[in-house]
Symmetry: none
Subunit: 254 residues, 2 copies
DNA sequence: ATACACCTTTACGTAACGTCAATGTAAAGA
DNA sequence: TCTTTACATTGACGTTACGTAAAGGTGTAT
């Protein structure tokens, strides 16, 4: 399939000016120029434009995008995984902002009070994250993946290492849960630690964590026989206990 | 509490230049100017800056923000609620993009194919959503909340009846999944039906459904042996198959 | 032949600041 | 008291990612 500026622009939702500009700065050259000087784009360019728009959506500058897409050793799949991780970060930022808005609404209703510093919490988080987005790669090159990833724990795409850590967490959860079960108190320290471990473990599988979804999953463990079977294997009643611990955990968590 | 440019800037995470610019364009005037010509900001200004940054985050131009925050009839609480709604819309857009990325990754792995049009779905969706953001309120005013909200009603409270229905769904899922597995095509009709049943079933346990969380759970079935064991019990490979079906499902779903 | 929708390049305009430059001021230590 | 350092001020020009003419060539349908 071949496209002129307008056809490609309409399909992609960008202006013809944008396409000419991308040509000008060397970020997306047409496949060929026809006898009348028209820009003609082909399949390769469609794919490349998609890449460009992905990164643009992330707030990456065209200059950086240029480096990314014109690098000879460009690993598309890896780039996409990184891209995905960044989108998830952005989403987390949004969640922070939404939480802040909720809090502000509560504030204006007179339900709570909020310090000046707190009022900008969401935005500051964004700055930190923006910083991560800008310098993350640099830092990774410098100190290796381990160091960086250890701090943002939100690594997705489940590497082998992640899998190991998730498994370790799962085992820790099982142990802690057994100990906690013997105390009989879902609100007790060890039960709450189990609930927290469960949350941590969950975060390896869920892109976004919410208390409601967490509590919902806890309920599912009780309601659905296949999950109950797993948790009750060694000690009947453990599924119910975990659910209650999670309920307390998600209720008291701020 | 009183703040100079730098103090306010640091707290809010903006530059002093920005604050001077906001003064210049009349969007945030200091409470007073001291004898040396320094800008001194007070409580009112802190709150107003927060408002401004909220809107900025949304992509509203400073010109429009000016109109909003300087309007005499400006209803803060209502603005916050609208703001919140828009943030949620933005989050949904992000979900669409993430789904698109997932699909592209799958594409580059050669698992599925994607038409040129599909490649821009996330971006187009954004346009549609922008439209919704603009006219959604209008439609609601026109036709009332019932009609609009009918589509996003959620089942809550898990009654006995609900539990029965969830169990019925789970059985139906197991059956459909077996049939689908034999076709070998995760994008096929029966596999997609299975994915949809899975979603329905999930909705009995989760308060909020998101494609991303759904996909995440699918991945969890593959990565975590306890879940894999359940799904692979009768037929090894079923967990992977379900995950792929869900990936396609959450990717193509609009 | 004319209309009309497309294409081209050139070039200036814009938003929201960043980044000097040149200069004045407050606070703290020698 | 003097000096250093950190902060403040107002210009003024630079930047990014295009929008928006202007002035003109191209393709095809009537």
């Amino acid at each position: 399939m071949e496209y002129t500026v307008q056809k490609l622009g309409q399909m992609a939702g960008v202006s013809t000016r944008t396409l000419r500009y991308y040509d000008e700065i060397g970020i997306l050259k047409p496949a060929r120029i026809n006898s009348s000087g028209y820009r003609i784009y082909g399949q390769t360019e469609v794919n490349q434009l998609q890449q460009i728009l992905f990164y643009k959506e992330l707030g990456v500058s065209l200059e950086n995008i240029k480096e990314i897409v014109t690098a000879p050793s460009f690993d598309v799949e890896n780039a996409l995984r990184e891209h995905r991780a960044k989108l998830l970060t952005k989403k987390a930022q949004l969640d922070a902002l939404i939480a802040n808005v909720d809090k502000t609404i509560a504030l204006s209703e007179g339900r709570i009070t909020m310090s000046d510093k707190e009022k900008f919490k969401g935005f500051k988080q964004k700055l930190i994250d923006d910083n991560e987005a800008k310098y993350g790669q640099e830092i990774r090159d410098k100190y290796g993946y381990e160091v960086v990833n250890k701090s943002n724990q939100k690594v997705k795409g489940m590497s082998e290492r992640d899998y190991e850590e998730a498994t370790k967490l799962a085992n820790e959860l099982t142990e802690t849960l057994q100990i906690a079960f013997r105390t009989g108190d879902p609100a007790g320290a060890s039960a709450q630690k189990a609930a927290d471990l469960h949350r941590q473990w969950l975060c390896y599988y869920w892109d976004s964590y919410s208390k409601e979804a967490h509590a919902g999953l806890g309920q599912m463990y009780v309601d659905d026989p296949r999950f109950t079977a797993y948790y009750d294997e060694k000690q009947p009643g453990t599924a119910v206990f975990l659910r209650d611990a999670i309920l307390v955990y998600t209720g008291t968590q701020n």
